[in-house]
Protein backbone atom coordinates (compact mmCIF):
# COMPACT_ATOMS: atom_id res chain seq x y z
CA UNK A 1 0.00 0.00 0.00
CA UNK A 2 1.59 3.31 -1.00
CA UNK A 3 1.58 6.63 0.88
CA UNK A 4 -1.15 8.11 -1.28
CA UNK A 5 -3.50 5.23 -0.51
CA UNK A 6 -2.79 5.40 3.24
CA UNK A 7 -3.39 9.15 3.29
CA UNK A 8 -6.63 8.98 1.33
CA UNK A 9 -7.89 6.03 3.38
CA UNK A 10 -7.30 7.87 6.67
CA UNK A 11 -8.95 11.06 5.39
CA UNK A 12 -11.98 9.17 4.07
CA UNK A 13 -12.28 7.17 7.31
CA UNK A 14 -12.29 10.34 9.41
CA UNK A 15 -14.99 11.80 7.19
CA UNK A 16 -17.04 8.61 7.49
CA UNK A 17 -16.75 8.73 11.28
CA UNK A 18 -17.87 12.36 11.34
CA UNK A 19 -20.75 11.50 9.02
CA UNK A 20 -21.78 8.58 11.25
CA UNK A 21 -21.81 10.80 14.34
CA UNK A 22 -23.86 13.44 12.51
CA UNK A 23 -26.27 10.75 11.35
CA UNK A 24 -26.69 9.34 14.86
CA UNK A 25 -27.34 12.80 16.25
CA UNK A 26 -30.03 13.20 13.61
CA UNK A 27 -31.90 10.13 14.84
CA UNK A 28 -31.74 11.07 18.48
CA UNK A 29 -34.42 8.82 19.90
CA UNK A 30 -33.17 5.83 17.97
CA UNK A 31 -29.59 6.53 19.04
CA UNK A 32 -30.61 6.76 22.69
CA UNK A 33 -32.53 3.52 22.42
CA UNK A 34 -29.62 1.72 20.81
CA UNK A 35 -27.26 3.18 23.40
CA UNK A 36 -29.50 1.86 26.16
CA UNK A 37 -29.90 -1.47 24.38
CA UNK A 38 -26.11 -1.71 24.11
CA UNK A 39 -25.84 -1.13 27.85
CA UNK A 40 -28.60 -3.66 28.39
CA UNK A 41 -26.61 -6.22 26.41
CA UNK A 42 -23.61 -5.42 28.52
CA UNK A 43 -25.57 -6.00 31.73
CA UNK A 44 -27.10 -9.22 30.42
CA UNK A 45 -23.61 -10.36 29.53
CA UNK A 46 -22.08 -9.38 32.86
CA UNK A 47 -24.73 -10.78 35.19
CA UNK A 48 -24.06 -14.49 34.52
CA UNK A 49 -20.36 -13.89 35.19
CA UNK A 50 -21.05 -12.02 38.41
CA UNK A 51 -23.57 -14.62 39.55
CA UNK A 52 -21.06 -17.37 38.80
CA UNK A 53 -18.19 -15.70 40.61
CA UNK A 54 -20.55 -14.90 43.50
CA UNK A 55 -20.50 -18.61 44.25
CA UNK A 56 -16.73 -18.75 43.93
CA UNK A 57 -16.11 -19.20 47.62
CA UNK A 58 -13.48 -17.49 49.74
CA UNK A 59 -11.02 -16.49 47.03
CA UNK A 60 -11.55 -12.75 46.43
CA UNK A 61 -9.13 -12.61 43.49
CA UNK A 62 -11.58 -14.61 41.38
CA UNK A 63 -14.26 -11.97 41.78
CA UNK A 64 -11.71 -9.21 41.12
CA UNK A 65 -10.53 -10.93 37.95
CA UNK A 66 -14.13 -11.42 36.79
CA UNK A 67 -15.15 -7.79 37.33
CA UNK A 68 -12.03 -6.49 35.60
CA UNK A 69 -12.58 -8.92 32.74
CA UNK A 70 -16.13 -7.68 32.17
CA UNK A 71 -14.91 -4.07 32.26
CA UNK A 72 -12.22 -4.72 29.68
CA UNK A 73 -14.69 -6.82 27.66
CA UNK A 74 -17.15 -3.93 27.55
CA UNK A 75 -14.41 -1.60 26.31
CA UNK A 76 -13.06 -3.89 23.58
CA UNK A 77 -16.46 -5.05 22.34
CA UNK A 78 -17.68 -1.45 22.29
CA UNK A 79 -14.80 -0.62 19.95
CA UNK A 80 -15.45 -3.68 17.82
CA UNK A 81 -19.18 -3.09 17.55
CA UNK A 82 -18.62 0.53 16.64
CA UNK A 83 -15.96 0.14 13.97
CA UNK A 84 -15.74 -3.45 12.78
CA UNK A 85 -18.74 -5.71 13.35
CA UNK A 86 -21.36 -3.53 11.56
CA UNK A 87 -19.48 -3.97 8.28
CA UNK A 88 -18.75 -7.64 8.88
CA UNK A 89 -22.44 -8.32 9.53
CA UNK A 90 -23.29 -6.79 6.14
CA UNK A 91 -20.56 -8.62 4.30
CA UNK A 92 -22.48 -11.77 3.48
CA UNK A 93 -25.28 -9.69 1.97
CA UNK A 94 -22.73 -7.61 0.03
CA UNK A 95 -21.38 -10.79 -1.54
CA UNK A 96 -24.74 -12.37 -2.29
CA UNK A 97 -26.30 -9.25 -3.79
CA UNK A 98 -23.15 -8.20 -5.64
CA UNK A 99 -22.87 -5.01 -3.61
CA UNK A 100 -19.16 -5.66 -3.15
CA UNK A 101 -18.91 -4.33 -6.71
CA UNK A 102 -19.52 -0.84 -5.41
CA UNK A 103 -16.47 -1.19 -3.16
CA UNK A 104 -14.30 -2.77 -5.84
CA UNK A 105 -14.65 0.17 -8.24
CA UNK A 106 -13.53 2.72 -5.62
CA UNK A 107 -9.89 3.91 -5.59
CA UNK A 108 -9.51 2.73 -1.98
CA UNK A 109 -8.50 -0.55 -0.38
CA UNK A 110 -11.58 -2.68 -0.96
CA UNK A 111 -11.54 -4.33 2.47
CA UNK A 112 -11.60 -0.91 4.09
CA UNK A 113 -14.47 0.33 1.93
CA UNK A 114 -16.47 -2.89 2.10
CA UNK A 115 -16.07 -3.52 5.83
CA UNK A 116 -14.84 -0.53 7.76
CA UNK A 117 -17.00 2.24 6.33
CA UNK A 118 -20.01 1.20 8.43
CA UNK A 119 -19.66 2.90 11.80
CA UNK A 120 -22.08 2.92 14.76
CA UNK A 121 -20.90 5.55 17.23
CA UNK A 122 -23.67 4.70 19.75
CA UNK A 123 -21.73 1.53 20.63
CA UNK A 124 -18.91 3.64 22.05
CA UNK A 125 -21.17 4.12 25.07
CA UNK A 126 -20.08 0.63 26.12
CA UNK A 127 -16.44 1.71 26.02
CA UNK A 128 -17.25 4.40 28.53
CA UNK A 129 -19.09 1.87 30.74
CA UNK A 130 -16.16 -0.52 30.48
CA UNK A 131 -13.63 2.08 31.56
CA UNK A 132 -15.93 3.06 34.43
CA UNK A 133 -16.20 -0.57 35.57
CA UNK A 134 -12.42 -0.97 35.55
CA UNK A 135 -11.87 2.29 37.44
CA UNK A 136 -14.54 1.49 40.06
CA UNK A 137 -13.19 -2.06 40.44
CA UNK A 138 -9.65 -0.74 40.87
CA UNK A 139 -10.79 1.52 43.71
CA UNK A 140 -13.17 -0.98 45.29
CA UNK A 141 -10.63 -3.77 45.35
CA UNK A 142 -7.83 -1.34 46.21
CA UNK A 143 -5.65 -2.56 43.37
CA UNK A 144 -3.09 0.27 43.41
CA UNK A 145 -2.48 0.31 39.68
CA UNK A 146 0.92 1.45 38.43
CA UNK A 147 1.73 2.90 35.00
CA UNK A 148 3.26 -0.40 33.83
CA UNK A 149 0.05 -2.26 34.59
CA UNK A 150 -2.09 0.37 32.86
CA UNK A 151 0.12 0.35 29.76
CA UNK A 152 0.04 -3.46 29.66
CA UNK A 153 -3.76 -3.42 30.01
CA UNK A 154 -4.26 -0.81 27.28
CA UNK A 155 -1.83 -2.36 24.81
CA UNK A 156 -3.26 -5.85 25.24
CA UNK A 157 -6.86 -4.60 25.12
CA UNK A 158 -6.21 -2.84 21.82
CA UNK A 159 -4.21 -5.76 20.45
CA UNK A 160 -7.00 -8.10 21.51
CA UNK A 161 -9.60 -5.93 19.77
CA UNK A 162 -7.66 -6.07 16.53
CA UNK A 163 -6.92 -9.79 16.86
CA UNK A 164 -10.53 -10.72 17.57
CA UNK A 165 -11.76 -8.35 14.87
CA UNK A 166 -9.45 -10.16 12.45
CA UNK A 167 -10.75 -13.54 13.64
CA UNK A 168 -14.34 -12.35 13.14
CA UNK A 169 -13.40 -11.10 9.68
CA UNK A 170 -11.89 -14.52 8.84
CA UNK A 171 -15.25 -16.10 9.61
CA UNK A 172 -17.24 -13.46 7.73
CA UNK A 173 -14.98 -13.83 4.68
CA UNK A 174 -16.13 -17.44 4.35
CA UNK A 175 -18.91 -15.77 2.39
CA UNK A 176 -16.54 -15.86 -0.59
CA UNK A 177 -16.69 -19.65 -0.55
CA UNK A 178 -20.01 -20.49 0.97
CA UNK A 179 -23.46 -19.40 -0.08
CA UNK A 180 -25.11 -17.51 2.76
CA UNK A 181 -23.00 -17.75 5.91
CA UNK A 182 -24.51 -14.79 7.75
CA UNK A 183 -24.98 -16.65 11.11
CA UNK A 184 -21.16 -16.81 11.54
CA UNK A 185 -21.55 -13.27 12.84
CA UNK A 186 -23.73 -14.54 15.67
CA UNK A 187 -21.18 -17.32 16.21
CA UNK A 188 -18.32 -14.81 16.47
CA UNK A 189 -20.36 -12.59 18.82
CA UNK A 190 -21.29 -15.59 20.98
CA UNK A 191 -17.74 -16.98 21.08
CA UNK A 192 -16.20 -13.75 22.29
CA UNK A 193 -18.44 -14.06 25.39
CA UNK A 194 -15.86 -16.53 26.70
CA UNK A 195 -13.59 -13.52 27.24
CA UNK A 196 -15.76 -12.37 30.12
CA UNK A 197 -15.03 -15.37 32.31
CA UNK A 198 -11.81 -15.82 34.32
CA UNK A 199 -9.49 -17.88 32.15
CA UNK A 200 -8.54 -20.44 34.85
CA UNK A 201 -12.16 -21.67 34.87
CA UNK A 202 -11.72 -23.23 31.46
CA UNK A 203 -9.96 -26.51 30.67
CA UNK A 204 -6.31 -26.11 29.69
CA UNK A 205 -6.82 -26.87 25.98
CA UNK A 206 -9.66 -24.40 25.84
CA UNK A 207 -7.49 -21.73 27.44
CA UNK A 208 -4.88 -22.19 24.71
CA UNK A 209 -7.55 -21.86 22.02
CA UNK A 210 -8.90 -18.74 23.69
CA UNK A 211 -5.55 -16.94 23.41
CA UNK A 212 -4.60 -18.20 19.96
CA UNK A 213 -6.84 -19.52 17.16
CA UNK A 214 -10.08 -18.05 18.45
CA UNK A 215 -8.76 -15.29 20.73
CA UNK A 216 -11.83 -14.49 22.84
CA UNK A 217 -9.70 -14.25 26.00
CA UNK A 218 -7.74 -11.41 24.41
CA UNK A 219 -10.79 -9.15 24.51
CA UNK A 220 -11.46 -9.56 28.23
CA UNK A 221 -9.80 -11.85 30.71
CA UNK A 222 -6.24 -11.78 29.33
CA UNK A 223 -5.78 -7.97 29.26
CA UNK A 224 -7.51 -7.81 32.67
CA UNK A 225 -4.92 -10.24 34.06
CA UNK A 226 -2.18 -7.82 32.97
CA UNK A 227 -3.66 -5.24 35.30
CA UNK A 228 -3.01 -7.25 38.43
CA UNK A 229 -0.12 -9.32 37.19
CA UNK A 230 1.60 -7.89 34.08
CA UNK A 231 3.51 -11.01 33.01
CA UNK A 232 3.01 -11.21 29.25
CA UNK A 233 5.79 -9.40 27.38
CA UNK A 234 4.41 -6.35 25.62
CA UNK A 235 6.53 -7.12 22.58
CA UNK A 236 4.19 -10.06 21.89
CA UNK A 237 1.22 -7.74 21.39
CA UNK A 238 2.29 -6.41 17.96
CA UNK A 239 3.25 -9.96 16.98
CA UNK A 240 -0.30 -11.07 17.74
CA UNK A 241 -1.71 -8.14 15.76
CA UNK A 242 0.54 -8.79 12.76
CA UNK A 243 -0.15 -12.51 12.72
CA UNK A 244 -3.93 -12.06 12.86
CA UNK A 245 -3.94 -9.33 10.21
CA UNK A 246 -1.66 -11.40 7.96
CA UNK A 247 -4.08 -14.32 8.08
CA UNK A 248 -7.04 -12.08 7.31
CA UNK A 249 -5.16 -10.49 4.41
CA UNK A 250 -4.40 -13.92 2.99
CA UNK A 251 -8.01 -15.06 3.24
CA UNK A 252 -9.24 -11.80 1.74
CA UNK A 253 -6.91 -11.96 -1.27
CA UNK A 254 -7.83 -15.61 -1.90
CA UNK A 255 -11.48 -14.78 -1.55
CA UNK A 256 -11.36 -11.89 -4.01
CA UNK A 257 -9.91 -14.15 -6.64
CA UNK A 258 -12.96 -16.39 -6.24
CA UNK A 259 -15.44 -13.56 -6.22
CA UNK A 260 -17.81 -13.80 -9.14
CA UNK A 261 -19.95 -10.78 -8.60
CA UNK A 262 -23.66 -11.58 -8.68
CA UNK A 263 -25.44 -10.85 -11.93
CA UNK A 264 -27.56 -7.69 -11.90
Amino acid sequence: MNRRTVRVTVVVWLKLFRQAVARDLQFRSQTWLHLLAGLGELIVGILPVLILTGFAGADPTVRQAAVLAVGVFAFTTGLMDCFVSPGLRRFDSAIRKGELDLALVRPLPTFFYAVLRWIQPAELGRCVSGVAIVVVAAFTFDLGLGPKALVALTVWALAGTVAYGAFWADLALLAFWVRSIEPVNDLAAAWRGAGQYPRPFFPRTFQVVLVSFAPAALVGSFPAEQLTDPTAALVLAPVVVLASCALTTLIWSRGLVRYDSASS
Partner: protein, 319 residues
Protein backbone atom coordinates in the same frame (compact mmCIF):
# COMPACT_ATOMS: atom_id res chain seq x y z
CA UNK B 1 -18.14 12.84 -30.75
CA UNK B 2 -15.23 10.44 -30.94
CA UNK B 3 -11.62 10.58 -31.91
CA UNK B 4 -9.07 8.01 -32.73
CA UNK B 5 -5.94 10.11 -32.64
CA UNK B 6 -3.02 8.40 -34.29
CA UNK B 7 -0.85 6.61 -31.76
CA UNK B 8 -3.30 6.93 -28.85
CA UNK B 9 -4.49 3.71 -27.27
CA UNK B 10 -8.22 2.95 -27.51
CA UNK B 11 -10.13 3.34 -24.25
CA UNK B 12 -11.18 -0.31 -24.40
CA UNK B 13 -9.28 -3.03 -26.21
CA UNK B 14 -10.51 -6.61 -25.79
CA UNK B 15 -9.26 -9.62 -27.71
CA UNK B 16 -10.65 -13.14 -27.39
CA UNK B 17 -12.14 -12.21 -24.03
CA UNK B 18 -13.82 -15.10 -22.23
CA UNK B 19 -15.39 -15.77 -18.84
CA UNK B 20 -16.41 -19.12 -17.43
CA UNK B 21 -18.31 -19.66 -14.14
CA UNK B 22 -18.43 -22.89 -12.14
CA UNK B 23 -21.91 -23.27 -10.73
CA UNK B 24 -23.45 -25.85 -8.39
CA UNK B 25 -26.54 -27.50 -9.84
CA UNK B 26 -29.57 -27.59 -7.53
CA UNK B 27 -31.36 -30.94 -7.69
CA UNK B 28 -35.13 -30.40 -7.84
CA UNK B 29 -37.65 -31.19 -5.12
CA UNK B 30 -37.36 -31.68 -1.35
CA UNK B 31 -35.45 -34.99 -1.62
CA UNK B 32 -33.01 -33.38 -4.02
CA UNK B 33 -32.58 -30.47 -1.63
CA UNK B 34 -31.88 -32.84 1.29
CA UNK B 35 -29.42 -34.79 -0.87
CA UNK B 36 -27.83 -31.47 -1.71
CA UNK B 37 -26.97 -31.07 1.97
CA UNK B 38 -24.20 -33.62 1.52
CA UNK B 39 -23.28 -33.62 -2.18
CA UNK B 40 -23.74 -31.34 -5.18
CA UNK B 41 -22.87 -31.33 -8.91
CA UNK B 42 -20.56 -28.72 -10.43
CA UNK B 43 -21.18 -27.44 -13.96
CA UNK B 44 -19.40 -24.86 -16.11
CA UNK B 45 -21.29 -21.87 -17.57
CA UNK B 46 -19.63 -19.99 -20.44
CA UNK B 47 -20.89 -16.47 -19.90
CA UNK B 48 -18.63 -14.77 -22.48
CA UNK B 49 -16.75 -16.46 -25.33
CA UNK B 50 -14.05 -15.00 -27.58
CA UNK B 51 -15.21 -11.40 -27.51
CA UNK B 52 -13.29 -8.84 -29.60
CA UNK B 53 -14.13 -5.21 -28.94
CA UNK B 54 -12.38 -1.87 -29.46
CA UNK B 55 -13.82 1.41 -28.21
CA UNK B 56 -12.15 4.73 -29.01
CA UNK B 57 -12.09 7.83 -26.84
CA UNK B 58 -15.32 9.78 -26.85
CA UNK B 59 -17.56 7.05 -28.28
CA UNK B 60 -20.97 6.20 -26.91
CA UNK B 61 -21.72 2.56 -27.54
CA UNK B 62 -24.77 0.52 -26.67
CA UNK B 63 -24.10 -2.99 -25.42
CA UNK B 64 -27.31 -4.87 -26.12
CA UNK B 65 -28.64 -8.35 -25.90
CA UNK B 66 -31.36 -10.51 -24.36
CA UNK B 67 -31.32 -11.36 -20.63
CA UNK B 68 -28.47 -13.71 -19.80
CA UNK B 69 -26.51 -12.84 -22.95
CA UNK B 70 -23.41 -11.82 -21.01
CA UNK B 71 -23.61 -7.99 -21.24
CA UNK B 72 -23.25 -7.41 -17.49
CA UNK B 73 -20.40 -9.93 -17.30
CA UNK B 74 -18.58 -7.99 -20.04
CA UNK B 75 -19.11 -4.68 -18.22
CA UNK B 76 -17.87 -6.22 -14.97
CA UNK B 77 -14.72 -7.58 -16.59
CA UNK B 78 -14.04 -4.17 -18.09
CA UNK B 79 -14.58 -2.39 -14.79
CA UNK B 80 -12.30 -4.80 -12.93
CA UNK B 81 -15.02 -6.56 -10.96
CA UNK B 82 -14.40 -9.92 -12.58
CA UNK B 83 -11.20 -11.55 -13.70
CA UNK B 84 -11.42 -12.87 -17.29
CA UNK B 85 -10.82 -16.58 -17.72
CA UNK B 86 -9.11 -16.04 -21.11
CA UNK B 87 -8.10 -13.34 -23.55
CA UNK B 88 -6.54 -9.91 -23.36
CA UNK B 89 -8.20 -6.82 -21.97
CA UNK B 90 -6.94 -3.27 -21.53
CA UNK B 91 -9.12 -0.39 -20.32
CA UNK B 92 -7.83 3.18 -19.99
CA UNK B 93 -4.34 1.84 -20.58
CA UNK B 94 -4.52 -0.56 -17.62
CA UNK B 95 -5.38 -4.17 -16.90
CA UNK B 96 -8.73 -3.82 -15.11
CA UNK B 97 -8.22 -6.89 -12.91
CA UNK B 98 -5.35 -5.16 -11.10
CA UNK B 99 -7.80 -2.46 -9.89
CA UNK B 100 -5.00 0.06 -9.58
CA UNK B 101 -5.67 3.61 -8.45
CA UNK B 102 -4.85 5.11 -11.91
CA UNK B 103 -7.46 2.75 -13.41
CA UNK B 104 -10.19 3.17 -10.78
CA UNK B 105 -9.87 6.95 -10.72
CA UNK B 106 -10.56 7.12 -14.48
CA UNK B 107 -13.71 5.02 -14.54
CA UNK B 108 -17.16 5.27 -13.08
CA UNK B 109 -19.85 2.61 -12.91
CA UNK B 110 -23.57 3.19 -12.56
CA UNK B 111 -25.59 0.11 -11.64
CA UNK B 112 -29.21 1.10 -12.13
CA UNK B 113 -30.47 -0.99 -9.23
CA UNK B 114 -27.61 -0.55 -6.74
CA UNK B 115 -27.34 2.56 -4.62
CA UNK B 116 -24.02 4.28 -3.95
CA UNK B 117 -25.42 7.11 -1.86
CA UNK B 118 -25.46 6.77 1.92
CA UNK B 119 -29.08 6.40 2.89
CA UNK B 120 -29.37 8.41 6.07
CA UNK B 121 -27.44 11.53 5.09
CA UNK B 122 -27.72 14.16 2.34
CA UNK B 123 -26.26 13.80 -1.17
CA UNK B 124 -23.81 16.58 -0.38
CA UNK B 125 -22.32 14.46 2.42
CA UNK B 126 -21.82 11.55 0.02
CA UNK B 127 -20.25 13.93 -2.50
CA UNK B 128 -17.81 15.13 0.16
CA UNK B 129 -16.72 11.55 0.88
CA UNK B 130 -16.16 10.99 -2.84
CA UNK B 131 -14.21 14.19 -3.06
CA UNK B 132 -11.71 12.81 -0.53
CA UNK B 133 -11.71 9.44 -2.24
CA UNK B 134 -10.84 10.81 -5.68
CA UNK B 135 -8.71 13.65 -4.26
CA UNK B 136 -10.66 16.36 -6.05
CA UNK B 137 -9.30 19.86 -5.30
CA UNK B 138 -11.81 22.03 -3.44
CA UNK B 139 -12.32 24.57 -6.25
CA UNK B 140 -12.90 21.86 -8.84
CA UNK B 141 -15.25 20.10 -6.41
CA UNK B 142 -17.35 23.24 -5.94
CA UNK B 143 -17.54 23.80 -9.70
CA UNK B 144 -18.43 20.16 -10.39
CA UNK B 145 -21.18 20.16 -7.73
CA UNK B 146 -22.65 23.39 -9.13
CA UNK B 147 -22.52 22.14 -12.73
CA UNK B 148 -23.99 18.73 -11.95
CA UNK B 149 -26.60 20.28 -9.69
CA UNK B 150 -27.79 22.48 -12.52
CA UNK B 151 -27.57 19.84 -15.25
CA UNK B 152 -29.48 17.28 -13.20
CA UNK B 153 -31.85 19.72 -11.49
CA UNK B 154 -30.81 18.63 -7.99
CA UNK B 155 -29.34 21.83 -6.52
CA UNK B 156 -32.37 22.27 -4.24
CA UNK B 157 -32.22 18.73 -2.87
CA UNK B 158 -28.50 18.34 -2.29
CA UNK B 159 -28.97 18.81 1.45
CA UNK B 160 -32.02 16.56 1.84
CA UNK B 161 -31.40 13.12 3.38
CA UNK B 162 -31.48 10.57 0.58
CA UNK B 163 -34.19 8.48 2.26
CA UNK B 164 -36.60 11.43 1.82
CA UNK B 165 -36.06 11.64 -1.93
CA UNK B 166 -38.24 10.09 -4.59
CA UNK B 167 -36.82 7.37 -6.84
CA UNK B 168 -36.27 9.81 -9.69
CA UNK B 169 -34.50 12.31 -7.44
CA UNK B 170 -32.36 9.55 -5.96
CA UNK B 171 -31.29 8.32 -9.38
CA UNK B 172 -30.26 11.81 -10.41
CA UNK B 173 -28.25 12.21 -7.22
CA UNK B 174 -26.62 8.82 -7.89
CA UNK B 175 -25.57 10.14 -11.30
CA UNK B 176 -24.08 13.23 -9.75
CA UNK B 177 -22.04 11.04 -7.40
CA UNK B 178 -20.86 8.85 -10.26
CA UNK B 179 -19.79 11.81 -12.42
CA UNK B 180 -18.24 14.01 -9.74
CA UNK B 181 -14.66 13.05 -10.58
CA UNK B 182 -15.15 13.49 -14.36
CA UNK B 183 -14.32 9.93 -15.35
CA UNK B 184 -12.70 9.15 -18.70
CA UNK B 185 -14.97 6.14 -19.07
CA UNK B 186 -18.47 5.63 -17.78
CA UNK B 187 -20.21 2.25 -17.59
CA UNK B 188 -23.94 2.83 -17.34
CA UNK B 189 -25.83 -0.39 -16.59
CA UNK B 190 -29.58 0.32 -16.90
CA UNK B 191 -29.16 3.96 -15.81
CA UNK B 192 -32.79 4.98 -16.45
CA UNK B 193 -34.52 1.99 -14.90
CA UNK B 194 -37.56 3.04 -12.85
CA UNK B 195 -37.41 6.68 -13.97
CA UNK B 196 -40.34 8.58 -15.41
CA UNK B 197 -40.20 9.97 -18.96
CA UNK B 198 -39.03 13.42 -17.90
CA UNK B 199 -36.22 12.05 -15.73
CA UNK B 200 -35.07 9.79 -18.59
CA UNK B 201 -34.80 12.82 -20.86
CA UNK B 202 -32.71 14.61 -18.21
CA UNK B 203 -30.35 11.64 -17.88
CA UNK B 204 -29.91 11.27 -21.64
CA UNK B 205 -29.24 14.99 -21.95
CA UNK B 206 -26.64 14.75 -19.20
CA UNK B 207 -24.85 11.85 -20.89
CA UNK B 208 -24.72 13.75 -24.17
CA UNK B 209 -23.43 16.86 -22.36
CA UNK B 210 -20.60 15.10 -20.57
CA UNK B 211 -19.67 13.26 -23.76
CA UNK B 212 -19.50 16.49 -25.73
CA UNK B 213 -18.00 18.73 -23.06
CA UNK B 214 -15.48 16.33 -21.51
CA UNK B 215 -15.12 13.62 -24.13
CA UNK B 216 -16.30 10.96 -21.67
CA UNK B 217 -16.57 7.56 -23.32
CA UNK B 218 -19.81 5.83 -22.41
CA UNK B 219 -20.68 2.13 -22.50
CA UNK B 220 -24.41 1.86 -22.10
CA UNK B 221 -26.41 -1.28 -21.40
CA UNK B 222 -30.13 -0.77 -21.43
CA UNK B 223 -33.32 -2.60 -22.27
CA UNK B 224 -34.91 0.77 -23.02
CA UNK B 225 -34.44 1.21 -26.76
CA UNK B 226 -35.27 4.90 -26.49
CA UNK B 227 -32.08 5.33 -24.45
CA UNK B 228 -30.11 3.51 -27.10
CA UNK B 229 -31.65 5.41 -29.97
CA UNK B 230 -31.11 8.75 -28.25
CA UNK B 231 -27.49 8.18 -27.28
CA UNK B 232 -25.64 5.36 -29.00
CA UNK B 233 -24.01 5.91 -32.35
CA UNK B 234 -22.79 2.37 -32.35
CA UNK B 235 -24.27 -0.83 -30.96
CA UNK B 236 -22.72 -4.15 -30.09
CA UNK B 237 -25.17 -7.03 -29.87
CA UNK B 238 -24.23 -9.85 -27.51
CA UNK B 239 -26.06 -13.15 -27.70
CA UNK B 240 -24.98 -16.35 -25.97
CA UNK B 241 -21.81 -14.67 -24.71
CA UNK B 242 -20.60 -13.71 -28.19
CA UNK B 243 -20.65 -10.45 -30.12
CA UNK B 244 -22.97 -11.09 -33.08
CA UNK B 245 -23.13 -7.54 -34.39
CA UNK B 246 -20.94 -4.44 -34.09
CA UNK B 247 -21.86 -1.39 -36.10
CA UNK B 248 -24.19 1.56 -36.49
CA UNK B 249 -27.88 1.47 -35.70
CA UNK B 250 -28.83 2.24 -39.29
CA UNK B 251 -26.79 -0.74 -40.45
CA UNK B 252 -28.52 -2.91 -37.86
CA UNK B 253 -31.92 -1.91 -39.18
CA UNK B 254 -30.81 -2.71 -42.74
CA UNK B 255 -29.43 -6.07 -41.77
CA UNK B 256 -32.50 -6.98 -39.76
CA UNK B 257 -34.32 -6.49 -43.05
CA UNK B 258 -37.66 -5.83 -41.43
CA UNK B 259 -40.25 -4.43 -43.82
CA UNK B 260 -41.43 -0.84 -43.59
CA UNK B 261 -45.09 0.08 -43.37
CA UNK B 262 -47.19 2.81 -44.87
CA UNK B 263 -49.52 4.48 -42.36
CA UNK B 264 -52.66 5.73 -44.16
CA UNK B 265 -54.84 8.18 -42.21
CA UNK B 266 -58.46 8.77 -43.30
CA UNK B 267 -60.84 11.64 -42.68
CA UNK B 268 -62.98 9.53 -40.34
CA UNK B 269 -59.99 8.99 -38.06
CA UNK B 270 -59.12 5.50 -39.24
CA UNK B 271 -55.42 4.65 -39.57
CA UNK B 272 -54.46 1.73 -41.77
CA UNK B 273 -51.00 0.14 -41.82
CA UNK B 274 -49.97 -1.50 -45.04
CA UNK B 275 -46.83 -3.56 -45.30
CA UNK B 276 -44.44 -2.31 -48.01
CA UNK B 277 -43.03 -5.40 -49.60
CA UNK B 278 -43.23 -6.33 -53.21
CA UNK B 279 -45.75 -3.55 -53.71
CA UNK B 280 -44.02 -0.19 -53.94
CA UNK B 281 -44.97 2.84 -51.89
CA UNK B 282 -46.41 4.61 -54.94
CA UNK B 283 -48.70 1.70 -55.76
CA UNK B 284 -50.00 1.56 -52.20
CA UNK B 285 -50.75 5.30 -52.14
CA UNK B 286 -52.45 5.19 -55.55
CA UNK B 287 -54.64 2.30 -54.41
CA UNK B 288 -55.53 4.07 -51.17
CA UNK B 289 -56.23 7.40 -52.91
CA UNK B 290 -58.97 5.75 -54.95
CA UNK B 291 -61.03 5.32 -51.78
CA UNK B 292 -62.58 8.49 -50.46
CA UNK B 293 -61.20 10.35 -47.45
CA UNK B 294 -57.43 9.75 -47.48
CA UNK B 295 -55.84 12.71 -45.71
CA UNK B 296 -52.29 11.62 -44.81
CA UNK B 297 -49.66 9.08 -45.81
CA UNK B 298 -46.45 8.27 -43.90
CA UNK B 299 -43.68 5.72 -44.18
CA UNK B 300 -43.07 4.05 -40.82
CA UNK B 301 -39.71 2.50 -40.12
CA UNK B 302 -39.67 -0.58 -37.87
CA UNK B 303 -39.17 0.54 -34.25
CA UNK B 304 -35.91 -0.33 -32.54
CA UNK B 305 -37.83 -2.55 -30.11
CA UNK B 306 -39.11 -4.50 -33.09
CA UNK B 307 -35.64 -4.69 -34.64
CA UNK B 308 -34.13 -5.93 -31.40
CA UNK B 309 -36.85 -8.48 -30.77
CA UNK B 310 -36.24 -9.81 -34.28
CA UNK B 311 -32.45 -9.82 -33.82
CA UNK B 312 -32.56 -11.50 -30.39
CA UNK B 313 -35.07 -13.99 -31.63
CA UNK B 314 -32.98 -14.88 -34.69
CA UNK B 315 -29.81 -15.21 -32.58
CA UNK B 316 -27.57 -14.16 -35.46
CA UNK B 317 -27.87 -11.07 -37.65
CA UNK B 318 -27.94 -11.95 -41.33
CA UNK B 319 -25.04 -10.44 -43.31
Amino acid sequence: MHSSALGSEPVISAQALSKRYDVYRQPPGLLGALRGLVSRELTAVHAVTDLDLTVEHGEIIGLLGPNGAGKTTIVKMMSGLLVPTDGRLRVCGCRPATRSYPFLSQISVIFGQKAMLWWDVSTRESLKIHRSMYEIPSRRFATAVAELGELLGITEILDTPVRHLSLGQRMRCELALALLHRPTLLFADEPTIGLDVQAKVVVRHLFREINQAFGTTIVLTSHDMSDVEALAERVVIVTGGRATFDGELAELRTRAALPKHAALTYRDGRVERVRLGDEGFGDVVRAAARSDGLVDVRVVEPGLDEVMAHVFGEGVVKP
